[in-house]
Symmetry: C2
Subunit: 311 residues, 2 copies
């Protein structure tokens, strides 16, 4: 079964890792959000892409979920002493990634080609694709005005109240080479438990992608468990947009895009309401604390997926 996963940062990366453990490498393609990419210190930084790759390569910091394990902090300490901005912390090893990516982008290489080479160097066997080679930048409209995503997310710690999102450049963006082929080849599409508003929505906004996906069996995994986000501002965003955060709200958000929906067993009472949307519900343990939880969840999702395909 060929699987295409759509992923944002930490939560998406964890499930992608589970899927990579559960599937032969040739059967998994992960399409990653680049809407939270940004330029900092003259470097192009792709936080979700790096989190997915570091996680798949076993290089991720297990405490934070982002950044690299065993990381040192010399460069940013040096920046700090010079009075520079430290709100977006860059470890030394991680900096090497941004340096080489930036160098190659400036030399004219495509982000997708660079990502493929980095994956090879890091020993990642699944295929990881940025959603697009063209820059797309997420902006968040808030009660403090419109903020660039990382300004909202990291510098302002998601404190401003959101009202809407804008994916700058997306109208001029195309799916990265390989993305539409991977969609066409996919037997199953898995929307990872990533933020629907700022991780998955930018991917779905890339012209041509949603139309290609429409023909495919898609299931999503809820990032909301017991009314809370496992990580990040997803629940807060639902609330600020006037929607009670819940697994059901996530299912309603994706709506007719979905054939199936995986959500946590603590929310099992929402089963019938989700089914009433015409979406096949499956509640299970979705919180991935240990690495073994990832492959366990992935296997359940794949079983559920197979049942959807044969239904």
């Amino acid at each position: 079964m060929k699987v295409l996963a759509l992923a944002g940062g930490v939560g998406g990366a964890k499930l992608a890792d589970g899927l990579a453990q559960a599937l032969p490498p040739d059967d998994l393609t992960v399409v990653v959000n680049t809407g939270d990419d940004f330029e900092h210190f003259g470097l192009t930084i792709c936080p979700d892409l790096d989190t997915v790759c570091y996680t798949l390569a076993g290089l991720a910091n297990p405490q934070t979920g982002w950044g690299r394990v065993g990381e040192t902090q010399q460069a940013m300490s040096s920046v700090e002493l010079l009075g520079g901005p430290t709100w977006f912390w860059l470890g030394d090893r991680d900096l090497g990634t941004h340096l080489e990516r930036t160098r190659r982008l400036r030399a004219g290489d495509a982000l997708s080609a660079i990502t493929a080479d980095f994956c090879t160097a890091w020993g990642i066997r699944a295929r990881v694709l940025p959603m697009s080679d063209q820059p797309v930048r997420t902006f968040v409209s808030t009660d403090e005005g419109e903020l660039a995503f990382q300004e909202y997310f990291v510098a302002r710690r998601c404190e401003p109240v959101v009202s809407s999102f804008r994916f700058d450049g997306v109208a001029q963006a195309a799916p990265a080479p390989g993305v539409l082929d991977a969609v066409a080849a996919a037997d199953l599409v898995v929307v990872c438990p990533s933020n629907p508003w700022v991780s998955v929505a930018p991917i779905l906004a890339v012209p041509g992608l949603q139309a290609a996906l429409a023909a495919k069996p898609i299931l999503a995994v809820s990032p909301i468990v017991g009314g809370q986000a496992i990580k990040g501002p997803a629940a807060k965003m639902f609330s600020e947009l006037g929607i009670l955060p819940s697994a059901l709200a996530v299912a309603q958000h994706y709506g007719s895009l979905l054939r199936g929906f995986v959500f946590d067993e603590v929310d099992a009472a929402q089963n019938e309401a989700i089914a009433a949307l015409g979406i096949i519900p499956r509640s299970t343990a979705t919180v991935m604390k240990e690495r073994a939880d990832r492959v366990q969840l992935a296997k359940e999702i794949l079983d559920f997926g197979r049942s959807l395909l044969s239904a």
Copy 2:
């Protein structure tokens, strides 16, 4: 006595450090070559400026003379694993300097203002000025064609045979704010034992600077000792340009610019030939192996300078 020093990298930095130890901070201004600045990984790197500042701050690597002491290598190891270029090695702490400088340059700050702030942060009390806020880039004509300076100097290890030098952008460059004032205020100008062709020549090529200097008593310190350069390709360049490398050749190169010339005692036999150029010679121990050698040489230069002024 107000002193203005013209400096390139390692040799210039060492003498600048000696002068900084020998003079009250308000009496020393160091004008640094920026012709070997370049862009790498999207960052603006100013090797001579950093070498001078790190040396004055006591942050320089005493083994290499450039780079920082106690440096770690995580970022470049990361670049190396990704197949990126490692011919110009950037330590992690050093990277912090390039990150913050690049950020501020892109924000519109002038290199001279950035340098002043960095010096304050590093506890440097003497004044350090880039020769210009406008980019000047040294190119070297060689038997392998024209090479950007760092390509010649680091990537090609000075192996190609040089025929001439070009300081791209220098015609449009102006002395950095403070440079002409420092020249006007200087009682003595010291040309450090830096490479005459690629460290000092770019400074002298900045429009208006040589004319301003013409009114000042200038002494130079020979970077050639016993026919060899203490460090770098100066002797090799003299030879390739058809000039026998010697202290005398350096004095002839600067010619009427100089009132006095300091060279090594091993070359004392060249005393009369230098005097015959109309330049007052002073031979002494010029090789700065230990930090104490720097201040010793600086004091001798200052004594010699005072004797020139009262002559």
